[in-house]
Amino acid sequence: MAAFVELDRIALRYGGEESGTLALLDTTLNVKEGEFVAVVGPSGCGKSTLMKVVAGLWPQSAGTAIVAGREVSGPLSIVGMAFQAPTQLPWRNVIDNVMLPLEIVQPHRSQLRAKRAMYVQKAQDLLSLVGLKGFDTKFPWQLSGGMQQRAQICRALIHEPKLLMLDEPFGALDMFTREELWNVMQEVVMDRKPTVILVTHDLREAVYLADRVVVMSARPGRMIHERIVPFPRKRTLEDTYKPEFAEIVQDLRNHISMAREQAA
């Protein structure tokens, strides 16, 4: 079966031919439909850059990127994205923020007016799924950081994207909130079954959520290691204390340390 996301020997250089920053080199990654892949790696190794290539936000300098069977040549609306930085619009309440993609992505864009009630219901369902029921008329600045990230996940999902791209979405949260959101994320994934690429620097998070974890080298980033995570869903936080879990985390950690040492 062909991969849903196929990155073949991608290179990407920001800026000029010689002087620019080489962020990616020979990066190859395949993600199957419905698979949850976590990408981990040292800071600045090009993880966000990788996401930009897949989302069609930045053209690669070399190599091919194929998403959903078509070569990436620009933004694709089958993608939903969430970032670490809270990107809610402060002048819109939660539900209007969540529904923002519907004002842009077709066919929703032209149907939104006519089928508003249906779309509002969809947004409400998503809010319930992430535990934000009843917060729809609150404004982003009235929510805690964790709640804002929940709303952001809803916004990333509202137009039913085939591919969900999460760039350190829980990076700014405290440990307890983060673990809570892992479970929210797991619920979402089991409910909606999207293909997911998650970038994170938290190895426990990667192992807890993903079917497969890939490790990137220091800049210029490429894949140097990968681990299948065999635990069935639904996983619980107790699982993270099991020796098998700890062993995978430890193995990933070793590879990242090696990558960093090579860079230094």
Binding site: K52, A55, G56, L57, G74, P75, L76, S77, V79, M81, F83, A85, T87, L89, P90, W91, L100, P101, E103, I104, V105, F139, W141, Q142, R155, H159, M165
Partner: protein
Amino acid sequence: MASMDTAPAAPAIPARRARRTPIFGSRRNLERALPWMVVIGIFLFWEVTVRVFSIPDFILPSPTAIWESYLRWQPAILDNAGQTLFTTVFGFAIAIVFGLALGVAIGSSTLVYNGLYPILIGFNAIPKVAVVPILIIWFGIGTVPAVITAFLISFFPIVVNVATGIATVEPELRDVLRALGAKSRDIVLKVGLPRAMPYFFASLKVAITVAFVGSILAETIGSNKGIGKLMVVASSRFDTPLVFAGLLVTAFMGVAMYVIANWFETRMTGWATRGMTQNQQAGM
């Protein structure tokens, strides 16, 4: 000019705070009363100084002398003030339309930005005093040069603020929308413009006060009506109390327009400050 920019600011800010959090202890009442107390204090000090040192009216008239002069010339003053208010608001209105349009264009396109910004800066650096005579040659003495000067002087802050608000949309936010296939027009409409609104309204408060500077400047240099003209005539007759009456009426109009702009700002962009009010309340 500097004193004109800052003077109207004093009463409006505390008034806004008081609006948002009603009857909140004596501190807020004090904040509300403070600008009035300062104004009254200054006038009292002024009156006393003039009387104690017997300063003649044609050097520095006392507030009561100014008030007498105002009452004596009231019809003429109000007539001329009405003219100035008209030219100022007219020029200001054109500045809003042009400023918004140009600000959006400059803020949303680096091409337009690079092309126009240097010219704008250069243009803004030209003293408007130098422009007024040209305007008078072109359009004759009258309303038009005053309107245009008010426009010229007030549209720059609007352009710069709107452009800044649009150009500083967070890259992540831009990416979220771009990833969905949003065109730059979508991004400007959904994010850029709403985000620029606080900047826009803040600039209106500056723009309306400098618009007065513009129209009065034009009236002073050449016109047949307006508060600027009135002050020129009065000072040529050494009627200093009347000059001061004209100054104070202008300041009053400036404050009034500022308050209106401020009211719009709080109405339209409450989201930009409400978070702060929340924190303040939580902190108490």
